[in-house]
């Protein structure tokens, strides 16, 4: 019989060790999955985790790493702040699309005017688009106590339809020979989010992601607001006695996460993606949830987790090319990672004893 005994304080060691243990366990379980699909598991794991970093064509893929990690880190840093406070915004995917739509709308509206002000204005609009979209679940939560989980998620389906409508309707490229999708912003110098150093994948969105990591670190660990957020998440009653106003936290956390997700969408549509199409979003908003947990809701952890997750995306693409591994396999792989992480987390808060230990 195995017994769990609650630790008086979360274990420092396991806080750091669980993500690593979870990654190793996922590699083993993922290897089994790949073997079941008839692929050599060792080869598959090597292609996913090794090829993009140090393989033959690594120089190209290292750039892709930042392109994928940027939005994941940016969105996850916003989400983690809310998760710390027990505010579950799971509609980042929708806020991401809204940011992209708002900024692309501006650019396409003024096209083909060239101006230095356009790109900054698009950034503002992108953040605002995500923020305002996140205000819907926030205000409904504050005013009526409606579950932010359900509302934010429902809104993803709403905005996905809106995206398709825009791609086929109002934002469709008038010179596109009837093909769906907007003009490509990569061909519009004032709106294009270029690589700051050509070929590295380092665009303004990646810079913003790094800034977001630093900003949320200061917020959560050096500022009174971060302290309030953490207290509200761990001891809601104590937080209220200490004068924390829950409504303000809800608005702040959802607003921050929404703005970050909107920014991520803006940098994506003006850079790597270039266009508004009905399949513009690729699930960054959902994967960012995994990133936030894998990074232990800590800014530095999220930075590392975002890079790792980006690696699985690129490695997954490579495995698809080189080994014919289905693209969905990588999605399963990412889902498994979250399972193992949540499961092993028991070691952080509990001691495991063999035998029927006296439960204190």
């Amino acid at each position: 019989m195995i017994t769990l005994i609650r630790r008086p304080n979360p274990s420092q060691f396991w806080t750091f060790a669980t993500p690593i243990v979870a990654v190793i366990a996922t590699m083993i379980a993922g290897g089994l999955l790949f073997a079941m699909l008839g692929k050599n598991p060792v080869e598959a794991i090597r292609v996913i985790f090794w090829e993009p970093l140090l393989g033959a064509n690594a120089s190209y893929f290292r750039g892709q790493l930042l392109v994928k990690a940027g939005p994941l880190i940016l969105i996850a840093s916003g989400l983690a702040v809310g998760f710390r406070a027990g505010i579950w915004n799971i509609g980042a995917e929708g806020q991401y699309i809204m940011g992209a739509l708002a900024s692309a709308w501006l650019a396409l509206h003024v096209y083909p005017a060239e101006s230095h002000w356009l790109f900054p204005a698009m950034i503002v609009l992108g953040a605002l688009g995500g923020l305002l979209w996140a205000m819907i679940p926030a205000l409904l939560k504050v005013w009526f106590g409606t579950s932010e989980i359900l509302v934010s998620l429902m809104l993803v389906y709403v905005v996905e339809n809106l995206l398709a409508y825009m791609a086929f309707g109002p934002l469709k490229n008038p010179d596109g020979f009837g093909f769906p999708g907007s003009r490509n912003l990569q061909d519009y110098p004032s709106a294009h989010n270029v690589d700051l150093i050509a070929g590295t994948g380092l665009h303004w969105g990646v810079v913003t992601a790094f800034v977001a990591v630093i900003a949320t670190y200061i917020l959560m660990h050096r500022h009174i607001t971060g302290f309030r957020i953490r207290v509200a998440g761990e001891a809601p009653r104590a937080a209220r006695f200490a004068g924390v106003i829950p409504a303000r936290l809800v608005v702040f956390c959802l607003g921050l996460a929404g703005a970050f997700a909107g920014l991520a969408g803006m940098f994506e549509v003006s850079g790597p993606s270039g266009q508004i199409t009905d399949s513009f979003n690729v699930g960054y908003g959902f994967t960012a949830i995994i990133v936030a947990f894998l990074g232990r809701l800590h800014p530095i952890g999220i930075l590392l987790a975002g890079l790792l997750m980006a690696l699985t995306y690129i490695g997954g693409d490579m495995a698809q090319l080189m080994l014919g591994l289905p693209s969905a396999a990588i999605q399963v792989f990412q889902g498994m990672l979250l399972f193992f992480l949540l499961g092993f987390d028991v070691l952080t808060n509990f001691r495991v004893r063999l035998g029927r230990g006296a439960s204190a």
């Binding site: 769990l4 005994i5 609650r6 699909l37 579950w88 799971i90 409904l140 005013w143 009526f144 106590g145 409606t146 579950s147 989980i149 359900l150 509302v151 998620l153 429902m154 809104l155 993803v156 389906y157 709403v158 339809n161 809106l162 398709a164 409508y165 086929f168 309707g169 959902f286 949830i289 995994i290 947990f293 289905p326 969905a328 396999a329 990588i330 999605q331 399963v332 792989f333 990412q334 889902g335 498994m336 979250l338 399972f339 949540l342 499961g343 092993f344 987390d345 028991v346 808060n349 509990f350 439960s359 204190a360």
Partner: protein, 328 residues
């Protein structure tokens, strides 16, 4: 025999005056409603039982889609839609067991684990379903009610469905009865209201929750299988399209009461059916705008309900979403 005659006469009469408003045939709409509601009704009834035991499983969407793909694959392989439905329920239950292991044994966060279940289910179903796109499943026959089906208006609305539609209604009644009038139901509710008190009384909290979650998963899987085998009937990636989340919303809307779940699911089904009929009737509203209606209305209903409950009785089971550990 006389019933048959009367039915035929009435049918003749009704042919002259079809009830239609703005190009939408009301009878077709009402008949569609029951079929459109069934997947969500099944999933929501299952989730109700799980939540009554005090566990919030946000993985309904993942369990449904796994049920959809497993049911589809099994039905295609065996040629039997019934075996497909059973396989769908099993797949859902298996997913729920995974969730139960993590949340009840490893005491993981229920919200995060539920999300993980959904993400995992969406990925795994896409992987399994790769070879099944464009395949036709074996058909599920409608139940034959004989002359009853010929009664105008009532016939097509109530007596023109497959057995799963009626089974889902029966399930709601059974869940209601068991929760309300049986000892098992009482224990389940006790565990959901206060797991510490139930534990002190000697009930096995974790075992009860495993059972409730498994049942909930099976129903979600069943709903998914119904979707891919009967409702659509086809397999496409991500075909549940938020139905699992809507089921979760319906449980909240229903204030955790089985009959209100039925009401909520049928309301939702009605909106879906109406939306599809409007598309078919060729109204000049873009398809994408019509498609958002079910989600927007779900949000609106949730808001109204939470506004009403704000200062009233707390309807949710008191231990909902809290981890249970005997020492704490």
């Amino acid at each position: 025999m006389w019933l048959h005659r009367m039915g035929a006469d009435l049918k003749f009469w009704a042919m002259g005056q079809r009830m239609s408003i703005g190009g939408i045939d009301i009878v077709t709409l009402a008949a569609m409603l029951m079929a459109a509601s069934t997947p969500v009704l099944l999933a929501a009834t299952g989730e109700l039982v799980a939540e009554k035991s005090g566990v919030l499983n946000l993985g309904v969407e993942g369990m449904m889609i796994m049920g959809a793909v497993a049911g589809f694959a099994a039905a295609v392989a065996t040629g039997s839609p019934v075996l497909g439905i059973v396989a769908g329920a099993l797949a859902g239950a298996l997913m729920a067991t995974l969730f139960a292991f993590l949340t009840q044994i490893f005491l993981s966060n229920q919200v995060a684990t539920g999300l993980a279940l959904t993400l995992f289910g969406l990925g795994l179903s896409a992987l399994i379903g790769k070879g099944y796109e464009g395949v036709r499943p074996p058909p599920t026959a409608k139940l034959d009610f004989g002359p009853l089906a010929d009664i105008p208006v009532i016939g097509p609305i109530f007596f023109s469905h497959d057995w799963i539609v009626y089974a889902s209604l029966l399930l709601v009644a059974v869940v209601w009865f068991v929760l309300r009038y049986t000892r098992a139901g009482l224990i389940l509710r006790a565990v959901g209201e206060s797991h510490d008190a139930a534990h002190a009384l000697g009930y096995r909290v974790v075992a009860v929750r495993f059972a409730a979650l498994g049942f909930g998963g099976a129903l979600a899987g069943l709903g998914g299988a119904y979707l891919s085998l009967v409702r659509v009937p086809q397999w496409t990636e991500g075909m549940t399209a938020g139905a699992g989340w809507i089921a979760l919303a319906i449980v909240v809307f229903a204030s955790w009461r089985p009959w209100r779940v039925l009401l909520g699911a049928y309301m939702f089904g009605g909106i879906t059916a109406l939306q599809l009929q409007l598309q078919a009737a060729g109204y000049a509203i873009p398809v994408h705008i019509l498609s958002i209606a079910p989600y927007v209305i779900t949000i609106v209903v949730l808001v109204i309900l939470s506004a009403l409950h704000r200062h009233g009785v707390q309807a949710a089971p008191a231990s909902l979403g809290k981890s249970f550990h005997a020492s704490s």
